[in-house]
């Protein structure tokens, strides 16, 4: 295990946080950027899920994806709504709020519920923050902006697209590790799968964007499908690459009784 070089958690935090926020901030001019930012956050969130779920949560990996988006959606709504006078600060406030909620839950899980997972507090904070960026990014890609009252409520909340973003965003984040976990799990393979789940979500978000924004949604959908195929091919190659190292031991030798 140790000789395989892994991308450090800090680099993935920077990748998800900076990539995600740039995507969200570019979304008013280029709605597709929101979805691309969300894919960065999906990759980051999937790695955080991997680090914490390795310890065995007792409840299965899906629970952590669901709590992530639960915290993320509360924080995203809060950040965007409270910063109405300075809309530029909204996404940052959302991420900070998510981190605070995640930190509180992580602290309680560690010290009150006594889960005895050393990375619990850090990973819960990261998971909540990435959940908030996933919600912000995909919502912005559908609404074409991240203005809560004028754009998100009529274009994302009223028509129920938010439920889709909540659920599929959670699955995009929890599925990669849930599918790859096991003794031969490797970070690179899981990250490619995270990219592919994020991109397939982007493709369907593009479909929703055709409904709300018109033609520009089609570009989101097409790029999502292309990215999905690219990432899935990479994942496929990794699977083949790793599978080649599995050595057959043959049948159990017949012994004379």
């Amino acid at each position: 295990m140790s000789e395989i070089k892994e991308i450090s958690p800090n680099n993935l935090v920077l990748f998800g946080l900076i990539g995600g926020l740039i995507g969200v901030y570019l979304s008013p001019t280029l709605p597709i950027a929101g979805a691309l930012g969300a894919i960065c956050a999906v990759i980051w969130g999937a790695d955080a899920v991997r680090r914490v779920a390795k310890y065995g949560l007792g409840t299965g990996v899906p629970s952590i994806g669901q709590i992530a988006l639960g915290m993320g959606i509360i924080a995203a709504m809060f950040g965007l709504a409270i910063m109405k006078s300075q809309p530029l600060a909204g996404p940052v406030v959302a991420v900070i709020t998510a981190s605070v909620i995640g930190f509180v839950i992580g602290w309680f899980a560690q010290n009150v519920i006594k889960m005895k997972i050393p990375v619990m507090i850090r990973c819960m904070t990261e998971i909540a923050a990435s959940g908030a960026i996933i919600i912000l990014g995909y919502s912005a890609a559908v609404a074409g902006n991240y203005d809560f009252v004028n754009n998100l409520i009529p274009l994302v909340f009223d028509n129920g697209v938010i439920l889709f973003i909540f659920w599929v965003g959670a699955v995009a984040m929890l599925h990669p590790f849930n599918a790859c976990l096991g003794p031969d799990e490797r970070q690179k393979r899981m990250l490619y799968l995270a990219g592919s789940t994020g991109a397939s979500t982007m493709a369907i978000v593009g479909l929703a964007a055709i409904m709300t924004l018109g033609a520009s949604g089609a570009i989101t959908m097409l790029l999502g499908i292309v990215l999905w195929l690219i990432f899935y091919k990479k994942f496929w190659d990794e699977v083949y690459n790793d599978a080649a190292s599995v050595v057959g031991t043959g049948l159990i030798p017949k012994t004379e009784a």
């Binding site: 409840t59 629970s63 509360i74 309680f108 909340f157």
Partner: protein, 240 residues
């Protein structure tokens, strides 16, 4: 700030209380996880979060339906509608699961945690297969599950009711969507916290684990839900 207004404080406390109801509900529901899916443990064969959230979200639908058709409905009425919807949902889940356990898998329903069923008084231990933690959904688990899901549905209805009071004057027709999504967020947070506490499986109110984990889970849930309550009320400030 509007925080010192006693009505606001009461509303924050109510959201905290409803989160706590959801957290408590999870402990009542007989969750067996993967072992129960193979009929090797008592309870329904899926995860805590799925069951609590599944029944709770049905409760949310019934309570919001009540609220939509009777906007002057009182708080207990909305909560009762939520409780009823969630209880019906979980009861039908357990009934369908029970039919499969009884006639498909062919296991006798028995709990490994108690010697006698506290409700029927039937002996349990002689029916537990060797090497398992019980099978199926015995009477006490069924009753406990129905009570628990009713608590969860009432909690969901309560958050929805409180939030609607804040949001509907500000964003008239969209309030239901925003309040519903926020309630869903609080629901997921509060159903995952206790599932970490119980470690994935619990049989219901008679399980010795129940007494051991309820206090610390409920404490966690009160703090987290009140944090969510403060956030929810501040969101209303940003809508005006």
């Amino acid at each position: 700030m509007v925080f010192l207004d006693p009505q606001t404080l009461i509303d924050i406390l109510l959201i905290g209380l409803s989160g706590t109801l959801i957290c408590l509900a999870v402990h009542f529901i007989p969750v067996g996880g993967a072992p129960a899916a193979m009929a090797q443990a008592t309870g329904i064969g899926t995860g805590t979060v799925e069951l609590a959230a599944g029944s709770g979200l049905v409760g949310l639908i019934t309570s919001s339906y009540m609220y939509a058709y009777e906007p002057n409905a009182s708080m207990p009425l909305v909560m009762a509608a939520g409780a009823l919807g969630a209880a019906v949902m979980l009861a039908s889940t357990m009934l369908a699961g029970g039919l499969i356990y009884a006639y498909g898998v062919a296991v006798p329903f028995a709990s490994a945690q108690v010697k006698k069923d506290p409700i029927t008084g039937e002996r349990q231990d002689i029916y537990v297969s060797k090497g398992t933690q019980g099978q199926g959904i015995p009477t006490i688990c069924f009753v406990s599950g129905v009570v628990g899901s009713a608590l969860g549905g009432a909690g969901g209805g309560l958050i929805y009711f409180v939030l609607m009071q804040y949001y509907s004057p500000l964003i008239s027709t969209s309030a239901a969507a925003v309040a519903g999504v926020f309630t869903m967020g609080v629901f997921y947070v509060n159903s995952v916290i206790p599932s970490y506490g119980v470690g994935g499986t619990i049989e219901g109110v008679h399980d010795p684990k129940f007494r051991r984990v309820v206090p610390k889970d409920v404490f966690t849930s009160i703090v987290v839900s009140m944090l969510c309550g403060i956030v929810a009320i501040l969101i209303a400030g940003g809508m005006s």
